[in-house]
Symmetry: C2
Subunit: 132 residues, 2 copies
C-alpha cells in the first residue's frame, strides 16, 4: 500500500498486521485492542512491539493519538483533520469531518502561534437515550 511505503520504516509482518488492523478498525482502538487482535495472527506478539510500532508511527505522522479517554490512549489511522463526538454513556466515538474556523481573541494570538485544534463534542447517542 502507498501509505505504508511513505512511512519509510521497516515493514515487518508485525507492523503490517498492526497497520492493517488500524486501517480496518476505525473505532479508535486502544493499545490493548490492537494487541489482542494482532496476537491472533502472531501469537508471539508482545506489548513492546505494539507500543514500539505505535510510537514509530506517531513520529512518522502515520497515525494520531487521541486523548479522549483518561488513563488510556486511543489511536486513529485517519490523520486527516477531523473532530469527534463521544457518547458519555457508551463511549461510542463518531468522526466529524468539518473544518471549523474558530476565531481566537487577540490576547491569545499575540501570545500563541496556533498550530492546530480539536473539538470534542459530548452527548448521548440515540441508543443510550432510548434505554433512558
Amino acid at each position: 500500500m502507498e501509505k505504508y511505503r511513505q512511512l519509510n520504516i521497516k515493514l515487518t509482518p508485525q507492523r503490517l498486521a498492526i497497520l492493517d488492523y488500524l486501517r480496518d478498525n476505525t473505532n479508535h482502538p486502544s493499545a490493548e485492542d490492537i494487541f489482542k487482535a494482532v496476537k491472533k495472527k502472531f501469537p508471539t506478539m508482545s506489548f513492546a512491539t505494539v507500543y514500539n510500532t505505535l510510537e514509530t508511527l506517531l513520529n512518522k505522522g502515520g497515525i494520531h493519538e487521541l486523548k479522549i479517554e483518561t488513563g488510556k490512549k486511543r489511536y486513529d489511522y485517519d490523520v486527516t483533520p477531523h473532530h469527534h463526538i463521544i457518547c458519555i454513556k457508551c463511549r461510542k466515538i463518531v468522526d466529524l469531518y468539518k473544518d471549523y474556523k474558530i476565531p481566537l481573541p487577540d490576547e491569545i494570538t499575540r501570545e500563541f502561534e496556533l498550530i492546530n485544534k480539536t473539538v470534542e463534542f459530548y452527548g448521548t447517542c440515540r441508543n443510550c437515550k432510548k434505554r433512558h
Copy 2:
C-alpha cells in the same frame, strides 16, 4: 465559602485544604501536584484521600477533569464552560472564555443529543518560540 457548602459533602480539614489549593492554583494541577502541596499542611495526607476527594468533587460537579495530558489527569476548579490553548513545547495551558457556537451536521444531531463541547487549541507560546 458558598461553593464549598453547596457541594453537600463533609468538609474535613483535608478536603478544605484540597479545595483551597485548587481554588488558588488555576494552573490545572495533577493529583501529585495537589498531594505535594497539601501534604505540607497535613503531613499524614495520603494519595487515597486526594483521589477520594477528587472523585467526590467530580461527582458533585465541583471540579472538572482535563484530558489534556495522556497518562496523567489534571483538575480544574473552574467549572464554568471554557476552552484551553496548550503550548506543545512547555505544556503551558491558558484558559479561553469564549462561548463558541459550533454547528453540527444534521446526521449528527439526528444521532446525538449534544450536552457540551470543548475546544483544545495547540500551538507554541511566545517563550518557546523565542528559544527557537
